[in-house]
Amino acid sequence: MSSPDGATRSWLVKAVLSVGLALFAGPAPAFDYHLKPVAVAERTWMVQGRREELSEDNGGDIANAAFIATGDGVIVIDTGSTLSYGRALRAAIATVTDQPVRWVINTHHHPDHVFGNQAFEGAEISALPATIAALKRDADSFRTTLYQRLGDAVRGTETALPTRALEAGESRFGDYPLRLFAFSGHSGADLVVLDPATGVLFTGDLVFHHRAPTTPHSPGIGIWREQLRQVRALRFDVLVPGHGPAAKDESPVVETLDYLDWLDRRLTNGAASGATRNEVIQAPLPERFADMALVRYELTRSVSHFYADYEEALLWADPDTTK
């Protein structure tokens, strides 16, 4: 080293500066998310996640969050993957409204939608009863996965379970009424929220948009498709999906249905013809999915989730069996 004194001095300056900054600003966030609320209707905003899988680069910012400034406080719908994301969301909300966050709704129990809950102390956190049960069951393994995939961005993240159980029908948050629908097709317990005053429909992950649907806890493609037909029949003006951009029409529902129809056919034809899992995964993808993110990735996962069931029904149902 040519100038040890100079190097030491510059290190000292940096150390003093960072201690000083830490005293002013508190501990540095584990990840810098740059969240931008986008207005989708009167008093309603969404914060769009990236159409990617969990990674150190995105810090888990892959799912949509949304919020309604009711006049009497803010309702937050889904809170992201980490404590830092939750805090960033809280700060982003404060840039567009002075109202305090009084309510948090988790549409379902998946890790990219619930692990920011912890940042909203003081707010009432609510979800469907089956979502609360599923989160209790899976929270530890989800957190392990988050640490493996996101690294430092997860620092400090703990599970904050919802305390209020929601049920389908009209539900009030303060005096603000929302219509709730209890579905199950994506994760086993999927809440869809309609704000009758603004016409905004928050679908959670029952609907994906320009991003391939994920299927780890789905009770079955058939059930999911049936419920999407029910969602399609609802009257709404704006749709906020769980992943991907908002829309002013039903096109995200149509797209999700189209993908699931295709997935069902692909698995059906594969199992009936004796195709191997790799053959089903690697066969060419339809051109109409070119703009949809992560199709091959999610197809690979869905084959693992469902193909054995399709084979049970179509390949092994009627062979002569020893035993």
């Binding site: 493996q148 004796g274 899992r277 790799n278 690979t300 084959v303 092994w316 062979p319 020893t322």
Partner: protein, 254 residues
């Protein structure tokens, strides 16, 4: 290039010595530090080359590390090989199978394996005194061999123990046979369990084995195998297997 090398290179080219290509074919395309160890253990002193005619296909990542599907395609050898080995470098039990195609076995097969962690996967085909090797890599979060309770693990395996299901599909070069056998395939690596797995598998025509494999406990629970055989739909085959406890399994291929 130094001027004096040019004539040397020209001589080599004239002699038809593709030394640079051969050198490349001997170098591990995955650059794995475990390659040499298992080359020595499984392939011994026999010459080795990495060969694109040995295809190996697997998902880029393991969604369920207990059931990772691997397809091998060495159909360019037209069944003219003596052995085929599959191993997962970073599994506690690396070897998956040792396949002898005998008279009827061909070079296309598919099997589900366990994956303990992210690893290189190798398939080696012995033909004309050379091991031809194909490689791929699978990302995994682990637990395939040593963690109980992987998704879909059947609690009550004894109910279906020994059940075999089989199907046959026409294939351009004979038949593709699919077999599913209900067996726990316990590796013995989970505390308080003993190794309990199928170790011998054969397809039999008449009384003669016409293709055979030995398996290790890196084959998944309730093993699934797809294999191409030379015989067409009219050729009678039986599937026979034996586990390390002496249980024998026998099933007619439809």
């Amino acid at each position: 290039m130094a001027g004096y090398l040019k004539p040397l290179l020209a001589v080599l080219i004239l002699l038809g010595a593709p030394w640079s290509v051969a050198e490349e074919a001997r170098e591990d395309p995955l650059g794995s530090f475990m390659w040499e160890r298992y080359r020595e253990r499984f392939l011994g002193d026999t010459p080795v080359r990495f060969d694109s005619r040995v295809g190996i296909q697997a998902p880029a990542f393991a969604e369920d590390s207990g059931q990772v599907p691997i397809d091998v395609d060495a159909s360019d050898f037209n069944g003219r090989f003596q052995r085929m080995l599959l191993w997962v470098e970073l599994n506690p039990i690396p070897l998956v199978f040792d396949y002898r195609p005998l008279s009827d076995g061909l070079g296309r097969l598919s099997i589900n394996v366990r994956l303990e962690q992210s690893s290189a996967v190798r398939v080696a085909v012995l033909s004309d005194g050379v091991w031809h090797v194909g490689s791929t890599r699978i990302e995994g979060e682990g637990g395939g061999c040593t963690t109980p309770g992987i998704a879909k693990t059947e609690d009550n395996w004894s109910k279906d123990f020994g059940r075999i299901k089989a199907r046959r599909f026409g294939h351009e070069s004979g038949s593709r046979v699919r077999v599913k056998l209900s067996h726990p395939m316990d590796s013995g690596l989970i505390p308080s369990t003993r190794p309990f797995y199928v170790e011998q598998v054969a397809f039999v025509h008449g009384d003669e084995p016409v293709a055979s494999m030995t398996w290790q406990a890196s084959v998944s629970e309730n093993p699934e195998l797809a294999l191409t055989l030379k015989g067409d739909a009219g050729t009678a085959y039986r599937f026979q297997a034996r586990d390390n406890n002496g249980n024998e399994f026998d099933h007619v291929i439809p």
